[in-house]
Symmetry: none
Subunit: 457 residues, 2 copies
């Protein structure tokens, strides 16, 4: 039966591409209120697809939540294990628009890649699993029980899916949980993720004068919240990238010798990363390798600053307030709550005289460590070998997938965290793309995985 | 003859008030296109008044400019000095309208003050000089040559008057130039301005990666231009407000002992300024008084920051670039070009590894120092003493009045910079007002000034 399913998938590639283009064309930007209806349209599109193949599918609106969760279930193999597939249909905002070579929501194929916002992150990746399930259904039914949980708030830090999972933990019990929201370690080199950095996302707000003031009249006596903010941000991370928040590194657990040895064999070089980043040199903590800085060390980045005069030309205002978006990437065993409290203390102390600074918590996720000794990882290894002809390596990822923590805590399940994208797919950037070859092979890999998790060789 | 002129002025107070109300009633808001015709109406109103008293008056439209300059001239005293009076008939936009107790362009007298937009800034102030000239003409002619230059772009940053002055410098040659666009230091305490701070307005642009990057994937290795910008801005001015640009203070000339003594006597207190600013404390360089920091010390302020993610919620981007609007207030004898070049050097050195920073010059005005040793200042002192019964103090102003630089450079004349308004007249704010007593005494002061400049005691 496996061969028949694979055969069917290979014969349906044109249709599979058309479906991906259709889904990319829905601008489901979860962070922007004007795209609220588009998010629901993307969810409804997935719900229809999942129902059409024979699953019980519904849109779940969590009270107080934002965008609906697509839940689909088929429990037609009593006694067989259950696989739950995670995905997110929401995408990052596409700005800056002027840097896209083609419009972000009008998918175009160039050089074997489909370009469009969400092509890799995460529409192409979860659609591969949707197609894999569909081909199994068309061939008589999957060899194991299946569930899909596809959320619409991953890029906006929403809590609808985590709350849904925690509130329905026993009904949603599952043996394995596939999260394909990452990438290969290199072209031709699949990867299984054994650790994810956590995150703490904050807004630092600084207040100076009561109202905006004229800098000619008050410059030299009125505290300026932007100058204060600069001192706060410069004080949080030094010029070399070492975070200065008190106790920040105290709970960091170094990677194992085995992990470090594996990372040394990866074809990821300073020169290659410099090329990808396009700056004059890399930054980061002295004394740590490139992959340690990226996967096993915490860091801090400023994402934007709000307030004051930002128009063309010159306006001489001392603004009343300034805000910065600041996030920290956390690694095992850092605790976001502890870091937040230490950050608050540091920010208060760094604010310059006459200004007052507060830290608003915009959301956090603890770092995650995944076990590799269970049969799911073995099945995933075989699936990659069969579909891509390559053995996966064990890596970590620098990004956060907050829901993994909820899955781990609420469902106690075996996580299979991996990715079908490629480095260079420009996630969160202009000209995001997904290799069509990766997309089709990913569909076959998930077909293999379903077979393997059900006990097939 | 002086007594006769003064007598005439005292007998014409009701008419003088009616004229001020008429001019305030013309909503000559230069920044709003819908008031373009009103600006011309105000200019024509002044032109008529000046012509009626016997001056040659005309409206000058500078090519490429906005609102006309009112120029009027009477050179009927060969051998006597020439006084040019500056003013501006344009006013600030009146918003927020709901905070006005009476409509901004329907002047109403309450408690001895006429309330209306432009009452103080600058209609009441230049009308006093127009009336002074008129009373001299009515009594047989002014004792010196007279010129008026009343512009309509002061509140909109227009360059019509400066260009007119520079293009006609020899024809507009003048011995003294009166700019009454300021205020008393306190009720009963006239002030003569001896210095204005200059300005250098820049945009600092920092480039990190070639494109926006995901902070999960690249955080720890990719240089972040916002973190770099924070180090640059924090490095330009320390926590106490001391500017760190190399050589920044080298050319600063301290105020004279006479100036400092005068400032110590002014009723301007830390408590009063704190109340106006509404912050927990004032800032500024240690070791300098409030008024030194405001008038005689240079400073640096950040007005806003551009780029990155500034929407609601959280987006984990390492942006490709970040820009800050930064200006410096300069004092005599700082040279904007020298400061710009030192700033460029400092900014380059402060950018963190892997980022590159550039400084864009958005415009500058040199600081201005007014000499006080010439007979014009002596005459102005006597005029204040005679009309207000008080000796003026020498003060400076923290803001820039760019046209003073043009007058000084193009005409090489003795500037008399002063003001007839009172603190609390709410310039640029709702319920702007002008004391009628100040207005009438200002008229007498200018009558005295004309007499004194002509050599009278």
């Amino acid at each position: 039966m496996l061969d028949q399913v694979l055969e069917r998938a290979r014969g349906a590639r044109a249709a599979a591409e058309a479906e991906l283009f259709e889904l990319i064309s829905i601008p489901s930007v979860s962070a922007l209120p004007e795209h609220r209806d588009d998010c629901r349209r993307a969810a409804a599109w997935l719900e229809r697809r999942l129902r059409a193949m024979g699953m019980e599918a519904s849109l779940i609106d969590v009270p107080g939540g934002g965008h609906p969760v697509v839940e689909a279930e088929w429990l037609g193999r009593p006694g067989a294990p259950t696989l739950t597939v995670y995905g997110h249909y929401d995408v990052q905002p596409p700005d800056p628009l002027e840097e896209w070579l083609s419009p972000p929501f009008e998918p175009v194929v160039r050089d074997g890649f489909v370009h469009g916002r969400g092509a890799d992150d995460n529409k192409g990746q979860h659609l591969a699993s949707v197609l894999a399930a569909e081909h199994w259904f068309a061939a008589g039914g999957p060899p194991l029980n299946l569930r899909f949980l596809i959320e619409g708030e991953e890029e906006a830090g929403g809590r609808s899916l985590p709350e849904h999972v925690r509130a329905n933990a026993s009904r949603l019990a599952t043996d394995f949980l596939l999260i394909a929201d990452g990438s290969f370690a290199a072209p031709g080199l699949p990867a299984i993720v054994t650790g994810l950095r956590g995150m703490l996302y904050t807004e630092i707000e600084v207040v100076g004068p009561r109202v905006d003031l004229h800098s000619g009249i008050y410059g030299g006596i009125a505290p300026n919240p932007f100058n204060s903010l600069a001192h706060i941000l410069a004080g949080l991370k030094d010029r070399d990238g070492v975070v200065q928040i008190p106790r920040f590194y105290d709970d960091v657990v170094p990677p194992s010798a085995e992990e470090l040895a594996g990372w040394r064999g990866l074809p990821i070089t300073e020169a290659g990363e410099l090329e990808a980043i396009g700056s004059s040199r890399l930054t980061g903590e002295p004394g740590y390798s490139l992959l340690e800085r990226r996967w096993a060390r915490p860091t801090l980045d400023v994402h934007g600053v709000i307030g004051g005069f930002t128009g063309a030309g010159s306006k001489t205002v001392i603004p009343a307030r300034a805000k910065a978006k600041v996030s920290m990437r956390l690694v095992p065993q850092q605790d976001p709550a502890t870091v937040l409290s230490d950050l608050r203390e540091a920010v208060s102390a760094l604010a310059t005289p006459g200004t007052h600074a507060e830290v608003v918590d915009l959301g956090s996720a603890p770092p995650v460590r995944m076990e590799t000794g269970h049969p799911g990882v073995a099945a995933l290894r075989r699936a990659f070998a069969a579909a891509f002809g390559a053995e996966p390596v064990l890596i970590r990822e620098g990004g956060s997938v907050p829901v993994t923590v909820d899955f781990q805590e609420a469902l106690g399940t075996h996580l299979l965290v991996t990715g079908f994208g490629l480095p260079g797919d420009a996630l969160h950037s202009p000209n995001e793309r997904m290799s069509l070859d990766q997309y089709h092979r990913a569909t076959e890999a998930v077909i293999h995985l379903m077979h393997g998790l059900a006990g097939g060789e």
